[in-house]
């Protein structure tokens, strides 16, 4: 029964529901018929016998239903078991085959792992930055109102009165709060700490959906000039500074110069819109009597919540209408002023350094990652196809032995899935381990402060989906191609690859080459943009310079107090061994502290222009290596009591005076004081590295003598003789001179400068490595296809060689085909790269998105690698002994 047994198994496994019923019916009919036969043999008539047989058996229909039900359950169970055992068998087989084809498997899995790892990391970043809701109540309703100056809509902020009017003269917002993030010195008698604070309205916490965990919220009556100054503090500050004492409510602390009462403690985890604040306070009790009414001094942001159902666009029209009415009513202060409404998320994404447009950067990186993933998938697909051909014999044998096409497709798919899952798991592992490291490389301003990037369950789930889709994609085409091979011809051994297969493969290689060109040219653009940024003449010498900031505020720091402080600090620091020069000023370059005002030539008071104001000690120019081009620098003799003098930047001189002839000329300040220009200094990139000072949109710089404008917010600038001095030395000196003044933001200027190019460096690094990965993948893909091509045509090649063709001729045939693919891919890649370039034009500096050198570099690098990938199999083909090939066929 053995042979029958085997076939029977095969048959039985294919039983459907109707088949089981038929079997049961047959079985019972046999029973009845046999009984009838027996009875007839015993002498009964056929009819009698049948009636008796049925009587004896009972209800045949009921029995049939009952038996069918039992059988159906059995068959289902067997089918399930079969499916599982098939799957186990498939997996087992897949793993075994893959282990045998180790080079193939390792290449495919590693390339996938790289691509999946990169994808997973990116998914984590995008998820945190763009997708997750902000951690505030109904965050989609939150918007920022930005006061802007027309016509360029530069964001300048709003005044207190203006922000109030934006709220009361519109219908689109449920509430509007001022918002201004500021640093403070906080002291409670024991010592001082530097804290970040937010200046807000009474509606602020309610707008964000937060309540104090202890004490009370701000009330409108707290935000009045002359009211007792109050402050709310963070949970963290409460714990670290006050030991979590409950009686801290009502306690008095000093914020800069003002004594304030703590009225509330905010819940743990809440750090305000800035995600770094420790204190929250109203504005008016801390400001002068005119603050509530004055309109011209604009330094406030504004947070608002949209009324339900009102869009940001509608609200913006509403607010701009209100702004236009204000401009009419207060032309002196509000002419050419308006307001923009941006969603809270948008405002996070917009802030930050120039050339760090977060959304575009993410878009470009996402695009690059998608390309890389695509190349990796195409590569696996390609490698599977190539391998499919070398194993078409195996498939044909299995086919002939009775394995259905579906079974073979399933086997091949299982192989792809095993491969991609192995690669994918490795990739996700890489991402978990590596994302933190890569994010650490990110320049601090690129990601918004709320984004804490980590690979969590949600990200892993998304990544796994990507992996499975990739696995199916990579397996589907080769599986159907391979399983569809004509069995008979395969077994006979004539392995002419069908033109359809060749076309598909060629298409894949062309695609790979094109994608790699896009990646490489993008990387080249980024690198060129970076080198252009590194080549910028900053106008100052950052090497060996360290700067730290202090706020000289409080009763002890009136003008004589401040003068004593800076004289003492300068003198003490100069005595530190290794210090070459010390200067003090309102702001050292690129540290984000600046103030602006208006100034006009004395003979043309109507043509006022906006300028950036610096108050510096005489050594500022020498300590920072800023050349004084004409006239003189500032001197110790430029002090209180002598005529106010300024040194202007070259850009200022050129813009205001003919031939830049500024020395000796007079200027009028906003308060009608006149100052005289004593010198012209070289242009310095004070604010943003990449903004040219001759750009008409960029306002120029003017340097005042600190002694004549003794402001309290100061950068202490120290140039080391051979190396930057230790931050610890600066802390110690300040601590010794003025223990109540915290020193903060201590950083070598070289670091400050490098932060400016961090975005470009990161982009270059990332896209550069993507480009190299893409290049390697494309080369592997091309190699595979060419190897296959040579294999498929080895007979033709052998015949040609046998009848005396020169090896060069044969080589040319193979190379021609490879070259055609490379050229087609490159052409397509150039087109794609040109289209992609438009997307990231605003991430580039000093290089246009359509950049011939970048494209040329990309295409040439790729062509060289691709040609090498083609040459190897071609050479191998020519070196093979034709006799061997012909005999084997």
């Amino acid at each position: 029964m053995g042979m029958i047994e085997g076939i029977r198994r095969q048959l039985r496994l294919r039983l459907s529901a109707s088949d089981t019923e038929q079997e049961v019916a047959d079985e019972l009919r046999f029973h009845i018929d046999t009984r009838v036969e027996e009875l007839v043999r015993g002498g009964a008539t056929e009819a009698e016998a049948r009636a008796r047989a049925h009587r004896e058996f009972g209800d045949v229909a009921a029995a049939q239903a009952e038996l069918s039900a039992v059988d159906r359950r059995r068959v289902q169970g067997e089918r399930r078991a079969e499916l599982i055992s098939d799957l186990v068998q498939d997996m087992h087989f897949a793993v075994r085959t893959l282990l045998r084809a180790r080079t193939f498997a390792v290449t495919a899995a590693l390339t996938l792992a790289l691509a999946v790892g990169v994808t997973t990391g990116l998914v984590a970043v995008v998820d945190q930055t763009l997708l997750r809701p902000l951690p505030f109540a109904a965050p989609d309703e939150l918007v920022m109102l930005n006061g802007v100056a027309l016509p360029e809509r530069d964001v300048r902020g709003g005044s207190y009165a203006e922000v109030s009017d934006w709220g009361s003269h519109t219908n689109s917002f449920t509430a509007v709060s001022i918002y201004n993030a500021l640093p403070y010195n906080l002291s409670d008698g024991a010592g001082a700490v530097h804290v970040r604070g937010e200046m807000v309205s009474a509606s602020y916490l309610d707008l964000l959906g937060v309540r104090p965990q202890l004490g009370r919220d701000l009330r409108p009556s707290d935000d009045v000039y002359g009211a007792e100054p109050v402050v709310l503090i963070s949970h963290g500050l409460w714990q670290t500074q006050f030991g979590g004492a409950r009686d801290v409510i009502g306690r008095s602390v000093r914020l800069d110069a003002t004594s304030a009462t703590i009225i509330g403690i905010l819940p743990a985890g809440f750090r305000g819109l800035s995600f770094e604040a420790d204190v929250w306070l109203p504005l008016l009790p801390y400001a002068g009597p005119t603050m509530a009414e004055q309109r011209g001094g604009r330094f406030l942001g504004a947070l608002a919540r949209l009324r339900p159902g009102v869009s940001a666009a509608v609200a913006e029209q509403d607010a701009q209408r209100a702004a236009a009415a204000l401009a009419e009513r207060y032309p002196d202060t509000n002419r050419d002023r308006s307001v923009d409404v941006v969603t809270l998320r948008e405002s996070y994404l917009r802030s930050g350094q120039a050339l760090t447009d977060t959304r575009t950067l993410l878009l470009v990186v996402a695009g690059a990652v998608a390309l890389l993933l695509l190349i990796a998938v195409v590569n696996v697909m390609n490698l599977q196809l190539v391998r499919g051909l070398s194993r078409s014999g195996e498939v044909a044998v299995r086919h002939a032995l009775g394995a259905g096409r579906g079974r073979i497709v399933r086997q091949l798919m299982t192989e792809s899935l095993v491969l991609t899952l192995a690669g994918g798991t490795l990739g996700i592992g890489l991402a978990i381990a590596g994302t933190r490291a890569v994010v650490a490389l990110l320049p601090s301003d690129v990601l918004p402060p709320y984004a804490v990037v980590a690979v969590d369950a949600r990200v892993i789930a998304i990544a796994l989906t990507v992996v499975v889709v990739a696995g199916v994609l990579a397996g589907l085409v080769p599986a159907f191609r391979t399983s569809g091979e004509r069995t008979a011809s395969e077994l006979r051994g004539s392995r002419s690859g069908g033109p359809r297969g060749a076309l598909l493969q060629h298409g894949l290689v062309v695609g790979e080459v094109a994608l790699a060109v896009v990646l490489l040219s993008t990387a080249a653009l980024m690198v060129r943009s970076l080198s252009a940024q590194l080549a910028i003449d900053t106008g100052f010498d950052a090497s060996n310079v360290t700067a730290g900031r202090v706020m000289l505020i409080g009763d002890a720091y009136d003008t004589p107090g401040r003068t004593r402080f800076i004289e003492a600090v300068t003198e003490r620091l100069r005595r530190v061994p290794g210090v070459a020069d010390v200067a003090i000023g309102s702001d050292a370059p690129l540290r984000g502290n600046f103030s602006a005002s208006f100034i006009a030539p004395a003979d043309r008071p109507d043509s006022a222009l906006r300028y950036y104001r610096h108050r510096v000690t005489p050594s500022y120019f020498s300590a920072l290596g800023i050349p004084v081009l004409r006239g003189r620098g500032l001197a110790e003799t430029d002090r209180d009591g002598t005529h106010t003098v300024v040194v202007v930047s070259e850009a200022f001189a050129q813009r205001v005076f003919e031939n830049g002839d500024a020395v000796g000329r007079r200027l009028v300040l906003g308060n009608a004081d006149t100052v005289v220009v004593v010198g012209v200094a070289g242009n310095v990139r004070q604010r943003v590295l990449t903004t040219s000072l001759f750009d008409p949109g960029e306002d120029p710089d003017v340097y005042f003598a600190w002694a004549q404008q003794p402001v309290g917010g100061l950068d202490i600038i120290v140039r080391g003789r051979h190396a930057p001095i230790e931050a610890g030395i600066m802390y110690a000196v300040i601590q010794d001179i003025a223990p109540e003044i915290p020193l903060f933001n201590v950083e070598p200027l070289a670091t400050t400068l490098s932060v400016q190019t961090a975005s470009a460096r990161f982009g270059s690094l990332l896209l550069g490595s993507f480009g190299l990965m893409g290049l390697a993948l494309a080369a592997v893909g091309l190699y595979g296809v060419m190897a296959f091509l040579v294999h498929a045509r080895r007979r033709e090649i052998a015949v040609r060689m046998a009848i005396g063709a020169a090896p060069q001729g044969v080589l040319a045939i193979v190379l021609k085909r490879g070259l055609a693919l490379i050229l087609a891919g490159s052409a397509l890649g150039i087109l794609l790269a040109l289209a992609a370039g438009r997307v990231f034009a605003n991430l580039l500096y000093g290089v246009r998105p359509v950049d011939l050198p970048s494209l040329a570099a990309a295409v040439l690098t790729l062509a060289a690698c691709a040609l090498a990938a083609t040459l190897v199999p071609a050479l191998r083909a020519v070196r093979t002994d034709p006799q061997l090939v012909l005999r084997a066929e």
Binding site: L28, F57, G58, A63, D71
Partner: protein, 113 residues
């Protein structure tokens, strides 16, 4: 045999079927005949219950079936014992012997004075 036929106890039929099939592959009609012959017709076994038992035992993997030709040259479904079925039969036989012996010990005990 006149006299009343005995009802087959629940669960007893399965062991009888296993035992009967253990003598060699057989179709349902033959199995029914064999059981009747061996029990001298003392047991009343409904055909429907017998077939149900056969299919149930097959679902449990104790019997396997196959279509073949019967002695009267018709297509019939033959059952035969699997290795698992043979083990089950041994277990059941043992259980039945112990059970019957215990029952008889009580029934055959000398009357207590």
């Amino acid at each position: 045999m006149d006299g009343e036929e005995l009802q087959v106890l629940q669960g007893t039929l399965d062991v009888l079927v296993l035992k009967t099939v253990s003598h060699g592959a057989a179709h349902g009609y033959a199995i029914a005949g064999r059981i009747r012959a061996l029990t001298d017709g003392e047991l009343q076994i409904e055909d429907r219950a017998l077939y149900l038992s056969l299919h149930r035992l097959e679902a449990r993997g104790w019997l396997e079936s196959d279509w073949g030709l019967s002695e009267n040259n018709r297509r019939a479904k033959f059952y035969q014992l699997t290795a698992a079925g043979r083990r089950e039969l041994q277990r059941e036989q043992e259980r039945w012997r112990r059970y019957a012996a215990a029952v008889f010990k009580v029934l055959d005990a000398a009357p207590v004075r």
